[in-house]
């Protein structure tokens, strides 16, 4: 178990900057997730760490050792890096049994005989596949293959574990189960882990910290909650969860808060030092942060907006209500019964600390 340090990592494919000057530190035992839309450079980053791709600038350290460095012209081949990796398509060797697949890395490290058997059995127990040791990969289900792949990657105690979209080949239910299982396995083994995904829920559930990437750049690093609650920009806010965006204008600012005009409504929110009165501001409110009712609430309710219901969507256990007022549209998430139908008037309000101003 070692930490990983990435400095100024850059990769070009022709004119495309697939990875653009990335700095990142992964602590010992930490599970960090590279999250971003397709083509943002997650796999490229991971493949540079694994040693499958050369760097065009920057350097990568594992512990105290440099494993790739453009300036030092170091490029350790993958097999000398002592990493473990779980691939999107698992990459289980079809001509070897489960036990042989898992034992391959041990053999290469000179661990043989009874000792190897014991380690293989431990790994199989970890992933709850003891009875399957002598099966071939083609005789296993997707989820089982996934777990074998994990066992194979961790059995020889690699310095760092790399996971490249390991759940994307599974069906929806299994994927959800495996999220928790993988996280649990990672915690049990305590390995420093770098996880790549474009699924925000996966990232939320599994990571200690999330690295959000866009077009080869890191746009935000933080704990899942931070990223959700205070997204760094419009891209992060829209990529992580659903949100209501509206262009507003700052009316007043004091130490206790700001007032922002949204069409006809005026919203109070926490003050930000970087926006002056009269400037435009992007307002983000999560759908579930709204409270709503069909009758007018008592006077003095902060941030109250009156709008007309456009449509109501039943989501199973909850509703999403789409409304419109002069100058803005909103999506409101509501649990429990509320009988509204299109055309009705809806009153909805939000606590000032739930109104976020996103830097543009």
């Amino acid at each position: 178990m070692k930490n990983v340090e990435i400095n100024g990592l850059t990769k070009f494919y022709g004119d495309v900057k697939a990875v653009d000057d990335i700095y990142l530190r992964v602590n010992q035992g930490e599970m960090i997730t590279l999250l971003g839309p397709s083509g943002c450079g997650k796999s490229t980053t991971l493949n540079m760490i694994a040693g499958f791709e050369t760097l065009d600038a920057g350097e990568i350290y594992v512990g105290d050792n440099v494993i790739s460095s453009h300036t030092l012209s170091v490029m350790l081949p993958p097999h000398k890096r002592n990493l473990g990796m779980v691939f999107q398509s698992y990459g289980l060797w079809p001509h070897m049994t489960v036990a042989q697949n898992i034992g391959y890395g041990l053999k290469l490290r000179g661990i043989r005989g009874a000792k190897a058997k014991e380690r293989i059995a431990d790994a199989l127990r970890l992933v709850r596949l003891e009875p399957y040791a002598n099966r071939y990969p083609s005789q296993l289900s997707g989820g089982q293959q996934q777990r074998v792949s994990f066992a194979r990657a961790v059995v020889y105690n690699p310095d760092v574990l790399l996971l490249d979209e390991p759940l994307s080949n599974l069906d929806a239910t299994l994927r959800e189960e495996m999220r928790f299982e993988l996280k649990e396995l990672q915690e049990k083994t305590g390995l420093t882990t770098i996880f790549v995904t474009h699924d925000q829920m996966e990232a939320m559930v599994m990571s200690d910290r999330i690295v959000v990437m866009q077009a080869g750049k890191i746009v935000q690093i933080g704990e899942p909650r931070d990223i959700y609650e205070s997204p760094a920009n419009r891209f992060v806010a829209s990529f992580i969860g659903v949100t209501n965006f509206a262009e507003g204008e700052v009316l007043s600012r004091s130490d206790s808060g700001m007032r922002v005009a949204l069409g006809g409504a005026v919203l109070a929110c926490a003050a930000r030092p970087d926006i002056a009165v009269g400037e435009k501001a992007l307002v983000s409110i999560r759908p579930q942060d709204w409270s709503a009712d069909t009758v007018q609430p008592e006077a003095g309710t902060p941030n109250l907006i009156e709008s007309r219901v456009e449509k109501v969507v039943y989501l199973g256990g909850s509703y999403e209500i789409w409304t419109v007022t002069a100058g803005a549209r909103f999506r409101i998430h509501r649990y429990g019964e509320l009988s509204v139908s299109p055309g009705d008037t809806l009153y909805h309000w939000v606590a000032p600390e739930r109104v976020r101003i996103i830097p543009n």
């Binding site: 796999s43 493949n47 694994a50 040693g51 499958f52 791709e53 081949p77 993958p78 097999h79 000398k80 890096r81 002592n82 990493l83 473990g84 990796m85 691939f87 999107q88 398509s89 698992y90 990459g91 289980l92 060797w93 079809p94 001509h95 391959y104 890395g105 290469l108 490290r109 083609s138 194979r152 990657a153 020889y156 790399l162 979209e165 994307s168 080949n169």
Partner: protein, 579 residues
Amino acid sequence: MISKALRRRVIPSGVAFPAFQSQSLIRVATILILSVLVLYPLFWMLVGSFQPTPMRMEFSLRAYERVFTSRYLPEVLWNTGVMTVATTFFATLLGVPLAWIVARTDTPFKLLINLVAMIPFITPPMLGAIAWAYLGSPNSGFINVAWSGLTGAEEALFNVYSMTGLIVVMTLYLTPYVFLFTSIAMQNMDPTLENAAAITGAGPLRTTFTITVPLAMPAILSGAILVFIQSLEIFAIPAAIGSPGGIYVFVTQIYQLLLGVPPRFSDAAALSLPLLLICALALWLQLKIIGKDKSYTTVSGKTFRPKLITLGKWRYAALAYAGLYLILAAVLPYLVFIYGSVIRSSGLPITLDNLTLDYVIRFFTGEANPLIWRSIRNSLVLSLGGATIAVILAALCSYYSSRGKGRSKAYLDFISLVPIAIPGAVIAIGLLWAYIRPPFQLYGTLWILLIAYTTRYIPFGVKAVSSSIIQISPDLEKAAHICGAGWIRGFVTVLVPLLLPGLFAGWVLMFVSMMRELSASIMLYSSGRETMAVALYLLWDEASFQYVSLMALTLVAISLICIGLMRLVVKAGNPAGVH
């Protein structure tokens, strides 16, 4: 009132019925024709082995008795065994590294090395055999003359008319099959599997031996078995190289039995049976391996191609290895033929005085030997006709196989594949027996050759067509039927245009193969019905170096033109919907 309505309802299905009938009629006809083509000669080969002569219907085991107590049989068995096993072994030994070099290393000039795969397609075994006879004959072979000129040695460096020579030439021309199978398998392999080995800690060489090669094993074995079958059925190389050195194998011994006076037809048929059985067994084994191979093909997401292995200085060794192979298999033979077509007399040094166009002129004006133009005409007629008939049959067969199910599909798949395992000599013997007497006395006509060719190469056509037919969704035809087209109209207006590239590729493949067919032709031709390959063999027997060379180059030129045309057409005519 009611009956009128009822009748109205009945009429449309009554109209639809004949269309259905025409389809099942054509299907039955396809199955029947294929069965007759493939099974009829086999049946007659079997009958023939129990008959004393083609003219007398009588049961006797004397042919088997003669063959199995003959003095030649142990020798033929031994020679065939040594030749096929050694050829299969060496072809695999040479072909697998060659494939690995192309698929996995940074060796330069890979496009050139990839030409290896084209060699057997362009150079018929007959050409290789003859060229190597000229190169390696102990007294006058160019290699040996050059060697004694250089060193003054009395001993020949290399006597091609020996078991070693036979194995060398066989190996040279069959290695590409292993190469082709293996390199395709290595190129299509899921790169994740090798990446996984690397990240687990295996270096490039270890990955090669523990992952790459084992995963390619089904393809390697499959290629090796194909080589095995080919080495049993190729006639030209044992005839041109083995026979002069007194080394007879199955096919050449069968030919000897036919050449005898009187010809020993029943012995030839009896000797064909074990040959056929071995080939059938080999094909069965190959099918089993290919069947198993399916479980090895893994689905892969988009993954990074593994880095090519950097060989460093060794890449030049790899290049030299590939280069040496190309020189031996292709460059030297063609140099021999080019030299041969313009030299006054074989063995003369290349000076301006010794070069002449006389032979070229006499060859192309037909002055040299009436055999030349006659054989070119016969070959063109046979191959154009044969390829066309075969491609139509192949199209129907692939269609019914891809759209059918159950038994009729299984039977079509089987019957259209079987000819791969029937040596040309065996088909020839069967056809001899089947068509030598009235009412179907086809022996002595081109028809018997046409039947032989169509039968032999149907599997090629089916393979080419069915690989494109499975890409065409049955919905396209269904749409045509919904629009009101009958089955035949649907087939001709929707399927055939979409299939054209596949049909054409299959046609060219069969045409080129038929142009050079020798194993069956040599036993079925009669005077006036010679083909180019037969003429080449006869001219070589007459020792006319220049005409042999010109004939060889002409044969290759026709093949190349066809292949070039195919590439053009396939490139230009790839319609939307087929990739």
